[in-house]
């Protein structure tokens, strides 16, 4: 019998925890925040920028270690810099629209 009571207490504790968001209302809106199309575009551009910058950083390191020779480095660094610049320009353009 005692164990059933303990079981009931576990159930009550669970119900309280599940109900907390309804009981502790701080006056926030009940609507979940939905990312705007603009935020999604920005996020995609930021990811693209970060990807290009990370690739540049890695290329520099691989060049320094000698894994990539000068000729390969020159062939690779240009497109990566252009990709980073392009995403930065696109981000600026998006901000300019606002």
């Amino acid at each position: 019998m005692i164990w059933l009571v303990v079981g009931a207490l576990v159930a009550v504790a669970a119900v309280v925890l599940v109900s907390l968001p309804f009981l502790l209302d701080h006056g926030e809106s009940d609507e979940l925040e939905t990312p705007t199309p603009r935020a999604e575009t920005r996020l995609a551009l930021i990811e693209e920028r970060d990807r290009s910058l990370a690739a540049l950083k890695e290329l520099e390191f691989d060049h320094q270690t000698g894994k990539i020779d000068d000729a390969d480095y020159r062939a690779l660094v240009g497109p990566l810099r252009r990709a980073a610049a392009s995403s930065l320009q696109a981000l600026d353009a998006l901000d300019a629209q606002d």
């Binding site: 809106s29 979940l32 925040e33 935020a39 990370a54 894994k67 990539i68 390969d72």
Partner: protein, 652 residues
Amino acid sequence: MADLGRAALVVSFGLALYACVAGTLAAVGRQRRLADSARNALIACFGSTLVASIVLAIALVRHDFTFVYVANHTSRDLSAVYSLTAFWGGEEGSLLLWLLVLTGYGALAVALNRRLLRDLIVWVVPVIGGVATFFAFMLFAVASPFATETRQLDGAGLVPSLQNPYMVAHPPMLYLGYVGLTIPFAFAAGAMLSGQTDERWIVATRRWTLVAWMFLGFGQILGSHWAYVEVGWGGYYAWDPVENAALMPWLAATAFLHSVMIQERKGMLKVWNMVLVAFAFELSLFGTFLTRSGVVQSIHSFSRSSIGGWFLGMVVASTAFAVALILWRLPLLKARTKLESPISREAAFLYNNLLFVALTLTIFWGEIFPILTQLFQGISRTIGRPYFDFFLRVFGLPLLLLMGIGPLVAWRRSSVRGLLRTLAWPAAAAVVTGVALTAVGHGTSRPGLIAYTFSAFVFATIVVEVVRGTRVTGSLFTLVSRNRRRYGGYIVHASVVLLAVGIAASSTAGANVFRTLKPGQSTRVDGYTVTYHGTKSIPSVTESGTTVEHRAFLSFTGRATGSMTTSQIDSSTLGPSREVGIYSNWRDGGTDLYTINSAQNGQTITLQILVKPLVNLIWIAGYVFVFGSLVALWPDAREQRRLVSRLAFARA
């Protein structure tokens, strides 16, 4: 006390169902409070499952034989530690452990990512809740560990072979791995359901995948070591369905961990990554179906039960769910970039992925073939070891080679000239190794020689990478700190080299002979002289039955000097079993002298004697693997800050 366990499981089921249903309604209706409530239900579900687990653990340690589960898996003479390991020694306890780990992982993953991935989490909660609902339902309606009966004087006991330190750790490790694969699946599904298929779900789940992968990998090594020291057949991997059930999701997760890097660097392979995550998760469920349903033969005694059909239903339903999601979100998952060159890091990862998936599917085919022949021909045709060994060589050796080439190839594209230049040192090391081994007579096994040569190549690659990197950064610590993921990965590669060498040496060289000896007789095997001194029969009586151990005493000289025993054990309740004798010769590179009391006829004994060169490298590889995984998955505060600022900037 069983009432408390049952009540806690009913509460767990209710909470998991609530998390699934209320979570879905909240995500569809965009209701914040309901979403938070569903998230809390998942966290509370962990709490109630923990209560149920504590009840079972107490019952096991106290030998409370009113619990059918305790009576079936423990006995009074079992120590507290092994009584506790009976938690996962049977089906009902295993399911409870599964639910405990799942809700624990789920609660932690949801709590840690609730701010950064709020828009995804609202969908992650119902997915984890759905999986937890299945397991909670199984536990309270199909296979409850809290069924009771009239108290018995003693229990049936735990199979002697399971009373081994490796069995204390091996099953929980596997469960931490199997169940851990639910988390990346849930986040992938959450990303698709929410339409937020950006990089965040990948970053959030990468460590979860690594954790699950590490536990699954290390769990398999521990299981192999257990089989080696306890099962008594001289090997460590038998391509048994239970072993393959753990290997398949591990291989799929390994492919994912590599391909995910292509998505991070190039924004490619989004569909492929979703498929791999779902594949790894489904394989973890399918493995359970395979080994629990009794549709295939397995050396594992717990393989037949009534839950197989339920698991098959779950596999079918969750596969249909995953396929439908991927097809629905295909337009969002299209890559914006293409593979620029077949000689590039991403191409190497792609080849590696194809080989991993091919190996996984080959093993999968080997597992379902007996089921299909039973279904269509009425006869179960089992695929044997040669099939699996053949495909391990066909796909495994090129994978080993790629492991050496991949790190040396640049992202985007490499020129042939540049690649040949970077490959020069590792290739030279490989050629020298191959020639030297052939010269000293280790070239008789072609697959073995290829494995050694490729291993030397990979090892040389790692050394070259680390030396060059350290020269640039000034210290090894700085080098590893700058890119823990890359250098942690190299440590894991080094562990694979140890594994490959250990497997190749122990399976292609050494000795495996049977000798019938009388007391005082000796025999020579591969540089050892083994002498048999006689057998002592040791009877013991417990409340659960009688046991007689026939312990044979041996000594050996030659490559090393020492003594060992090997036993045959006849138990009236648990049947026959063996204890093998092992001497690890560390001066000989970790070579084992391994003896099995194969047959005992009075004082005459038939001994199986094996010499297993370098076999201990396999177990060492397990610890190196864990170390490398920990280095790779260690939290990176800079990355976390970058993600937070990226999201804040996007929403600004």
